[in-house]
């Protein structure tokens, strides 16, 4: 969008929902997509620079902050940073212990990373919608979405990683035969071999759908919540400047809850899925 002309409302909204996509355009060659059509034309072999940048910066911030607390850890009286980090770590640890009973040193750090990283990504939603994109425009970056979790690629990347771990641990803990049995012999089973043979495809269909739906629902739940929240902020930003606070402040306060809740749900479901793939029947 050219900043010289005042954009219409729908242009403004579309502009705010467009990622900074870098990829190969069939006509324009390698470069940054200008608008949704060009981005769509680039297809799969393109990358959302803004989502990648902000998610990596936030993840690095998480690692840096927690590493700092871990390096200066004092078993006696904790400092301010250490206390805050301890609260989060203890919270995650409690949830993991309550739900996940197998012995796997990966799960708790995984849950902590998911919780804090998603929380930070969601938190970007509270930055005023126009602030960073305008600054970006000032230095020549046409599009910028600063909330990585409003990009379905980001949430899918997380949920598919979790899905891959699910499959991996299912095979590792239950073995290939155990995993296949779980997919084919449940929930319906029969002592009669003929009836059992009929039930196997039914079970496979049910279990297959439930398995595939896990990463999809995990990704779309987070994406949908954050996307909707961001969209409301954008709509509020269309109001006259003197009226915006009346809506944006309550929505932002409500959104603090959503941000934390969505991060917690993603973490909790990950733990549950991991626990399910570690349980052998």
């Amino acid at each position: 969008m050219a900043s010289s002309e005042a954009p219409t409302s729908s242009e403004y909204i579309q502009h705010h929902l467009q990622n900074l996509v870098f990829g190969y355009h069939p006509e324009n060659g390698l470069g940054i997509a200008h608008g949704g059509d060009e981005a769509a034309a680039m297809g799969f072999w393109s990358i959302n620079l803004d989502s990648m940048f902000f998610s990596i910066v936030l993840g690095a911030f998480f690692i840096w902050l927690f590493k700092k607390a871990a390096d200066n850890f004092n078993a006696g009286v904790p400092g301010l940073l250490q206390s805050s980090v301890e609260v989060i770590v203890e919270f995650v640890d409690t949830n993991v212990r309550d739900t996940f009973h197998a012995n796997n040193p990966l799960i708790a750090p995984l849950a902590l990373t998911i919780f804090v990283w998603i929380f930070l990504m969601n938190l970007m939603d509270l930055v005023p919608v126009d602030l960073v994109p305008r600054l970006g425009e000032a230095i020549g970056i046409p599009y910028m979405k600063i909330v990585p979790s409003t990009d379905v690629n980001v949430t899918l990347g997380l949920s598919l990683s979790v899905f891959a771990l699910m499959i991996y641990y299912s095979f590792k803990v239950k073995g290939a035969s155990g995993f296949i049995k779980e997919l084919t012999l449940m929930p319906f089973s029969s002592g009669n071999p003929v009836l059992q043979a009929i039930l196997i495809p039914v079970n496979l269909l049910l279990e297959g759908v439930s398995l595939i739906s896990k990463p999809i629902s995990l990704a779309l739940r987070l994406f949908g919540n954050m996307y909707a929240g961001e969209l409301i902020f954008i709509l509020i930003a269309l109001l006259p400047f003197w009226a915006q606070w009346a809506l944006s402040v309550p929505w932002a306060i409500f959104h603090i809850l959503v941000i934390t809740l969505q991060a917690f749900i993603f973490m909790m479901l990950t733990i549950v899925y991991m626990a399910m793939s570690h349980e052998s029947h």
Binding site: M42, S51, L112, G157
Partner: protein, 156 residues
Amino acid sequence: MNVNLTVLGQAISFAVFVYFCMKYVWPPIINGLRERQALIAGGLADAEKSSQKREEAEAEIATMLQDAKSQAAEIVAQAQKRSNEIVESSKDTARSEGDRLKQSAQAEIEQEIVGAKEGLRQQVGALAVEGARRILGTEIDQNKHNSVIDDLVKQL
């Protein structure tokens, strides 16, 4: 909202962050928390132990105090008894001493009485002889009549 390479990039960065978290963040913090837990548990156990010790010491002090009190009471009773005895014995001593003094004084008095009687008897004898000599006008040979006079004197 196109699905593109970002998915893969996100998965890779996710893996990297989880690895770092698992390697450098989680273990030191969770170990520190366990250490603190042990520290607090130890402190609580110590506090429990010392309060128990204090209770024991208090009980000991109470029994010691009881002992001391009864001992003191015993000593006081003994002292009272002893002083009573002393008073009694000194009373006895005083009484017998008084008796003795009284007796010796009486004996002295009796002796004096005897001595005075003797003196008086002799003076009376001499007076009797003198009286008789004057009345008779003759010299009475004292030696001649001594036996008579002595008889008279003895009759006094």
